[in-house]
Amino acid sequence: DQQVKQNSPSLSVQEGRISILNCDYTNSMFDYFLWYKKYPAEGPTFLISISSIKDKNEDGRFTVFLNKSAKHLSLHIVPSQPGDSAVYFCAASPLDSNYQLIWGAGTKLIIKP
């Protein structure tokens, strides 16, 4: 039973345009959400996070939006750059989870020149 779902295995976006990656979750006990970026043959790297008390967090070109009623979050990258081509994982942390993260399956983002 997947508690964190990334329904798009891949996404192709033109350089300079906005990339929107989506993530849905089922567990209302999740209180912290994170996005990770992964290049081939490397470990995932932390990108941006959001607490459940917020609905938006922005860091440079990256913005994460959280809609708790819909149990949905999204990552916006604008403008998209070739170096953004990677696999993006959504992860969620339940309350009192002993630091455990529940991961989505990832979305492969391809930025076209």
Binding site: G43, P44, F46, V87, S97
Partner: protein, 112 residues
């Protein structure tokens, strides 16, 4: 200077063998993890240690045994390797709940 380093990067071995993967972090984090990325690319937690104490032990065959000699090291020993153990194994560390993990670059284990 690599923050989370795991060795080896690649490991090819025969069924039935015993192997170990080592992980070290120099970030001063209290918590370390082992994750398995399966063929469908899901990242699944296997173990978590906080200050050398086991705090998460997911449903993993007991052929897998983590060992944490100190809070900077978390090694993974696998006995009697099976074909289904082939995967990429990631070590990670973190300091705060929900905060960003720092991952190692992964160990690609291939059992033949």
């Amino acid at each position: 200077d690599t923050a989370v380093s795991q060795t080896p990067k690649y490991l090819v071995t025969q069924m039935g063998n015993d192997k170990s993967i080592k992980c070290e972090q120099n970030l001063g984090h209290d918590t370390m993890y082992w994750y398995k990325q399966d063929s469908k690319k899901f990242l699944k937690i296997m173990f978590s240690y906080n200050n050398k104490e086991l705090i998460i032990n997911e449903t993993v065959p007991n052929r897998f045994s983590p060992k944490s000699p100190d809070k900077a090291h978390l090694n993974l020993h696998i006995n009697s390797l099976e074909l289904g153990d082939s995967a990429v194994y990631f070590c990670a560390s973190s300091q705060l709940q929900g905060a960003g993990y720092t991952f190692g670059s992964g160990t690609r284990l291939t059992v033949v």
